[in-house]
Subunit: 426 residues, 2 copies
């Protein structure tokens, strides 16, 4: 067994879902790449006793390192540094030089934002952030809050605790300093390479895959396989140590031959990667015309840097007038078959192509709900069409779930239709 770490994410706003935690998963994945296994991520509110019990639990699981995120701000509910110092039995002391450095950062930041500074308020906040448990290493601030590496007091047992700020950009910016810290390096000296490979399937039931995996079972020892279904996509992630590479290769080959049509990605690439690569490679341009998804497909297609090379733009055609005036859908067609119809989806795809002068066009029209459904056109009914130089690919589906589910699943389906049109195979 190699090195192991535990993670505590603090913040009542995270515990109650007002903010989605991005730090726990990010840290878990970075640690894995570094060869460190993570068994638990604990989310706790801004309460002293709950943070204490979470830290004690992780120490009790025998991990080599504990990492916390959040609770380093200037407000009274930010208490991570203090509680960690107490757990590690290291009383806090003001680091005057650090106080000066933080003060300079904070005042520069406020003046850049044009905010009025209350000197006393600022000084009190900064002083709180410059309290350092005796014997802890300071990680220089990336934003305003410094991080800490706090070993347990001499003569006591327990893992060192790395204390990081909550804002993901600050935490991620501080990460290289964490890995370079001598206390962290000593704690994780037992790390071993953990490989991770991902296969992706589209339109295969999870139970089929489960049955296939059962038949392969005798050869799967040492492979940690997890499958996850979301929005019609089945992701198979396998983790293993270097000696299991051959067992993994055998598994991948067996699955490829069992699912030649639906296993669309062997190398971890997402449908987004495949569509972007195909557009770039073929020097094709793309444009969208979206009704119920209202720009979300265009937003997804432009997530990656450099997408301006192939994405020309799009039309958000929420009203019928916009469908007619912007995308050129004939008024007569809208009246005859209605806005939510296969014909209008095709007209939107072609309208996007012609209005933006793109090679490929995508049209989406549907009923995201929760209102607006009828017996013939229920909530969740979505018509999609992808049109390219070689022809059209239409699809009609009734999607389950909430308004948000219907919208995001429609976008994912459109991505797979683009893959089909551009890369081929199902």
């Amino acid at each position: 067994m190699g090195a192991r770490a535990g993670i505590v994410v603090t913040g009542t706003e995270v515990l109650t879902g007002r903010v989605t935690d991005r730090n726990g998963p990010w840290l878990a994945e970075e640690l894995r790449r570094f060869g460190v296994d993570v068994a638990h991520v604990l989310i706790v509110g801004d309460r002293r006793e709950d943070l204490r019990s979470a830290l004690r639990f992780l120490a009790g699981t025998g991990v080599d390192l504990v990492i916390t995120s959040g609770g380093l701000g200037p407000t009274a509910d930010d208490l991570t540094g203090e509680v960690v110092g107490e757990i590690q039995q290291r009383p806090a002391e003001l680091d005057v030089a650090l106080e000066h450095r933080i003060h300079a950062i904070v005042t520069a930041l406020m003046s850049r934002r044009g905010w009025l500074v209350d000197p006393a308020a600022t000084a009190a906040g900064v002083r709180k952030q410059a309290l350092v448990p005796l014997g802890a290493a300071v990680l220089e601030p990336v934003g305003t809050a410094p991080g800490l590496v706090v070993p347990v007091a001499d003569g006591q047992g327990g893992p060192p605790i790395v204390v990081l700020p909550g804002p993901p950009a600050e935490l991620q910016g501080m990460w290289p300093a964490v890995l370079a810290d001598p206390i962290v390096q000593a704690a994780l000296s037992g790390r071993e390479e953990v490989r991770q490979r991902t296969l992706r399937m589209w339109n295969t039931p999870e139970s089929e895959l489960a049955a296939t995996l059962r038949t392969l079972e005798p050869g799967l020892g040492g492979l940690e396989i997890t499958t996850c279904l979301r929005g019609g996509e089945l992701e198979i992630v396998t983790r293993f140590g270097a000696p299991e590479q051959t067992a993994y290769d055998d598994l991948a080959t067996a699955l490829q031959s069992a699912y030649p049509d639906t296993l669309f990605s062997y190398d971890g690439r997402t449908v987004d990667d495949m569509v972007a690569d195909a557009l770039a490679r073929e020097h094709l341009t793309i444009a969208t015309a979206e009704s119920c998804t209202a720009g979300l497909l265009a937003g997804r297609l432009t997530e990656r840097a450099g997408s301006s090379e192939w994405v020309l733009g799009g039309l958000v055609v929420y009203s019928n007038a916009a469908k007619r005036d912007l995308a050129g859908v004939p008024e007569e067609l809208l009246e005859r078959v209605g806005a939510v119809s296969a014909e209008v989806a095709a007209a939107l795809a072609e309208g996007a192509r012609s209005r933006l002068g793109a090679d490929v066009g995508v049209g989406i029209t549907g009923i995201a709900g929760p209102g607006g459904g009828t017996a013939e056109k229920p909530v969740g009914l979505v018509h999609l069409c992808v049109a390219g130089p070689s022809g059209q690919l239409p699809r009609t589906i009734v999607l389950p779930g909430s308004r948000t589910d219907v919208r995001t699943r429609s976008v994912t389906l459109a991505m797979h239709m683009l893959r089909e049109l551009l890369v081929g195979s199902q």
Copy 2:
């Protein structure tokens, strides 16, 4: 102290961030509304030993109820039911009637999707899902997996464990049955009302707020106040029992008088609510023309049901040709000042208004990065303009962070500019 619960979210895909957990926060908030406090959410991978230690930790914190999500599927990595049965010392038995019900659901689902069914694979998966710890109550499937309420074996101490499926729609659909279950009701009999109120500020530094809260401190006993900064918005959430209502009202009044210009929401309403309400109330329509945000603002404006009453549509103008042809930005202007300029943002806003015949138009153009920045126009530079019948509101900003950060913060800023234009005050 009222009733308390702990939550375990299972799934290696959640632990490693391939899937964002929506169940932990949702359950925490529902429990709060029901009068139950949650101190910890634990995320564990699909490993027996890690799930066991998480369940034991929560039982050890003295909670009245434990709730798990995930790990109820047909694949071998789905092991929650089995581990919970073992922890509660209740061996599993096949529930034949339940097996038949699940089988009917699964085959109907597959035939609706047009998937070929392998009868043996299906039967094996279904049998696994119909294993029930002796003496546990079954919660009928909403999707394919049943939930469980598993009390600890007679004569043993410990909280009952509620086992729920991972897909959020299934978990949420099963929730009413959880609250109606007699074992759950008995466990949570000590529940007490926990009120929660939210104030929102825009453009106030967190350290200023911290200083204000310190001056109010003597009156804040019994209020659990958490503040959270994201994308320039400062959210102040306060939880308290019914006897503390007056203390909370005093706090809210004090903050309102301290921050008359920047405290924009007293009643939990979001900027999205305020913009939507203003558009609906004034019978105004809106349209967008987005470059760097590429449809994300249109997507956000249409998140809520009924938005088709005021959102007409939008233009995603990624290329210069699209800015010219779709939004009517003069070629001469693009050449003279460049696509990323205050002038083009204003032209986009007016172009959106006129092309879609809307009352209000929003134009956004910027450099989301990571490439494309220059000394004069750095990555993160964004020009926005909101235009309405009463005039234009322009803004220029340099946003920090990643490509995703720049895009989402631009959208949030645009929402606040709309609020300013439509609702007034800063």
